[in-house]
Symmetry: C2
Amino acid sequence: MNLPIGELARRTGVKVPTIRFYEQIGLIAAPPRTEGNQRRYGKAEVDRLNFIRHARELGFEVDHIRELLAMSQEPQASCHQADSIAKAHLREVDRRIERLQALRVELSRMIDECGHGRICDCRIIEVLADHGQCSGEHVS
Amino acid sequence: MNLPIGELARRTGVKVPTIRFYEQIGLIAAPPRTEGNQRRYGKAEVDRLNFIRHARELGFEVDHIRELLAMSQEPQASCHQADSIAKAHLREVDRRIERLQALRVELSRMIDECGHGRICDCRIIEVLADHGQCSGEHVS
DNA sequence: TCTTGATCCTATAGTGGCTAGAGATTCTAG
DNA sequence: CTAGAATCTCTAGCCACTATAGGATCAAGA
């Protein structure tokens, strides 16, 4: 072990500046340094960073990850809190999916209706402007 | 007309500080002022801000909105560019929906498998940590 | 031992799209 | 004339990074 930061980055898929950033915001602890002031990491940091990366990929916010990490260090505690964080996040994801799907519908209708002619006949601009004239004037 | 900024905000649903911010980044022009230095807007700004708000709601980035606004001012030009901006955005939306749905699946499987017991048996923590032991040690 | 080049260090600023707050001024209705 | 709502500018903060500058250090080969 005793990995330099670049090797930790390679093993976890978290970029070097991001690792330093995580240290700065206290998501990971400051590791020991070499005589020349370079960070050296052990196996524990690989695990912790993988945990963080995975949680970020799932869209958890840093503050929630902080809580999940704290929980993971108390194996005997109830997992009720982890469950409720995950459920709240799932609801949030559902909301986002719904919004994006509604948006998708509107976008593709807009695009379908575009006659590929002049701007003044264009449904895309028209839908956005939300007023249907085409007689020389313009939006602004 | 000759609306103060608050009234413009009310009519467009864009908040007052946001309007000033849009002016600052050049998305809308600096309007005339009263003797007391307060902004006064006309109908054109109401339309333009509505256009912007609508495009933002559809998730277009400010830079794309800038282009769309420029186009809307050249009614005789081809709408090919507007079309391609919209299509690129649609693809982006599709990508996001896909990612969120994959994420949703993983999240809800995680939650379903949570036995609501102790942390050390919890699938949520375990999935994140991505290593399945439960014998006193912990993640970090 | 020396050199080279990859990696590492700190510190600061930038990203996008706003939002919040302080402290001063101006407008408007009574 | 006055009170209070609305406005003004300016600065800083949000999130989660990312980029850049200008150095220092490390490891391998000659």
